[in-house]
């Protein structure tokens, strides 16, 4: 009995695990195979999409070259397909969205975890999650039918008038060289995108903040810290990395958002510092122009899709990496 148990202690664990694996019922093995196949399928689809779209965009890549692709002229009537204006539009609207959404989202997350009691937090969470359920086409239609016509005379026009000629601010929110501000514009698109990414940034931030150990927080209170000092001293250092990850995920979503951006960005191919002017983004140009495109035009749109795909993958990988590193760091602490 004793010798037997000693053996079980040392080598027996591995042995019995192996035996268990061998004796696994058929159902288990089938399930494992199915799960593995499902996982591989997703990967395969991703790779196939990338391969086939890249293949179809070779005409564009080949004809325009790097300088052509990153030129600012998009003029299908004269066979000029430069994508820089769309890359600029995508970047600028996503950045506007993040700048507007992140402070609000983090504030809401802190409110929910640190300020209001749990039974009040739940309905608030519910309402914010509802924002994520609103289909993007509804955001877009609301943006172009209701928001843009309202905001132009009530906000954009007075702001542009007031800031005309003011250094820096005048270049961003003042009237552009091509005239008065426009309802559908870079800023409108950024604002709508901000609404759209608020739920995801909020819920991820809330989860990160919720992992702050209660004992640390109570320790801070015990040392006489106010709530603000506790948040700054304990919650913030602990969840900083996770929140950065949440922000990057929001950024990825904002960059890829298609139909809402297509409806409210104004569809004008230009690079300008004037955010109240109409612009264009990468997904928007694909959605708007694919239907009647052919030849190099079609190839160029698919190529923009490939660029966008790569861009969002990079941002997402970066986000995951930041989150993963942060989780490891905080576990170690």
């Amino acid at each position: 009995m004793t010798s037997h148990s000693a053996r079980a202690d040392s080598a027996g664990i591995a042995g019995s695990a192996r035996a268990l694996a061998e004796r696994r019922p058929l159902g288990d093995r089938v399930f494992q195979a199915l799960a593995l196949a499902a996982g591989l399928l997703v990967l395969a689809i991703l790779v196939l999409i990338l391969v086939s779209t890249t293949q179809q965009s070779t005409t564009w890549f080949g004809k325009e070259g790097i300088t052509g692709i990153f030129s600012t002229t998009w003029d299908p009537a004269h066979n000029k397909f430069g994508a820089l204006t769309f890359i600029y539009g995508t970047a600028i609207t996503a950045v506007i969205a993040v700048i507007l959404a992140v402070p609000v989202s983090v504030a809401i997350a802190l409110l929910l975890t640190e300020v209001v009691p749990y039974r009040w937090a739940r309905p608030i969470v519910y309402v914010i999650d509802l924002l994520a359920v609103v289909p993007s086409v509804v955001w877009g239609l609301w943006g172009v039918q209701v928001f843009a016509p309202w905001v132009l005379p009530h906000v954009y026009a007075p702001v542009a008038r007031a800031l005309k000629g003011v250094p820096v601010l005048g270049n961003v929110f003042g009237p552009s060289t091509s005239g008065a501000p426009s309802g559908p514009a870079f800023f409108t698109a950024g604002l709508i995108l901000a609404f759209m990414i608020t739920p995801i940034v909020t819920s991820l931030s809330r989860e990160v903040i919720a992992t702050v150990p209660t004992i640390d927080k109570e320790g801070a209170y015990a040392l006489g810290a106010t709530r603000l000092e506790m948040i700054r001293g304990v919650v913030w250092p602990h969840s900083q990395g996770g929140i950065v990850g949440a922000v990057l995920l929001g950024l990825g979503r904002a960059m890829g958002e298609t139909i809402a951006a297509a409806l409210v960005i104004g569809s004008s191919t230009q690079i300008t510092s004037h955010l109240l002017s109409p612009g264009y983004s990468m997904p928007a140009v694909i959605a708007n122009q694919f239907g009647e495109a052919f030849g190099e035009f079609r190839s160029a749109l698919l190529g923009i899709g490939v660029l966008l795909f790569l861009l969002t993958i990079i941002v997402n990988v970066l986000a995951r990496a930041v989150v993963a590193r942060n989780v490891q760091r905080t576990r170690g602490a």
Partner: protein, 360 residues
Amino acid sequence: MQPRGRKRVAAGIGGIAALAVAVSLSACSSSPKPSGGSSPTAAPLTGTLNGAGSTFQTTFQQAAISQFKSVQSGMTVNYDPVGSGTGRSDLAAGTVNYAGSDSPIPSTETDFTGKGTVLYFPVVIGPITMSYNLAGVSNLKLDPTVIANIFQGKITTWNDPAITALNPGVSLPSQAITIAVRQDSSGTTQNFSLFLQTAVPSAWSLGSSSTISWPHSAHAGSGNSGVAQIIKSTPGAIGYVDLSTAHASGLTYASVKNSSGNYIAPSAASASASAAGVTVNPDLTFHAVWGSGAQAYPITYQSWVLVFEKQPNANDAKMLQAWIGYLLGDGQSLLPSLDYAKLPASIDQMAKAQLSKITG
């Protein structure tokens, strides 16, 4: 999303109109129709035809599909308005039986290389209006040069001497001009720009394409209805929209100077007149813009149904003959109520004569 939504509504209206026609047709079908030449042979066919392409054809296709049920009850026809370019590549890929296209296959499009002969069947003509929003001005006259300069951002106010010269006796305000254009790529844009390129090649430098690099001051809307909405809500706006949308939105539109020097308002009749005065190629491709003829409305465009000459089987060939035969025959009578124009008789005859080329 938005244009399709509107099309659905329009299709609904079309459906009602079609129903009314159906009722009147069935009322007179008790006596044998003497003009049976256009209606397909009575042999019942069964099967499904799938088409895709031009959004311009949507209301016509949908009205004709619901009508066609009474001609061939065993046949199902589906039409997906995905845009001409996508429709053509779907046809080349073999995923649809026919494509709707607002332009002939461009020489640079390689999808059809080595895939056999494609037949063109013109099915519909339509005018593009120059709709505008100017309080108190209801009879604006424009010529191609002025239109070209407005849409290139060279004429920026309504009381510009170039416009007032065309409109003696009309008091035009000093209001700024807002140009309304399509944000989606479109056959309407393609044919509007083709009109300017054909009529005033020296004044128009933006080329002709489904997407134009407009001046940055342009306001872009989605679909004909999106452009119409911009015009309606922006005093001083002018844009190009098809006639049915202009009517549905209650817009005012200009008379445009044609190649004979007359100012003509857009209508089904003046559009047909423009198409009647153009040169038709042996393969039935043509451009209805800038047609000759005293009563021709110059900004007129056309759309084709494209099919492969050689079909995979005899039944597909017969079904396509029946369906396209219907579009060219009785289907044409649906067009005026949908704000399209009928094909001129000469072109219609050429298209019908070509039906027998579809073989299985």
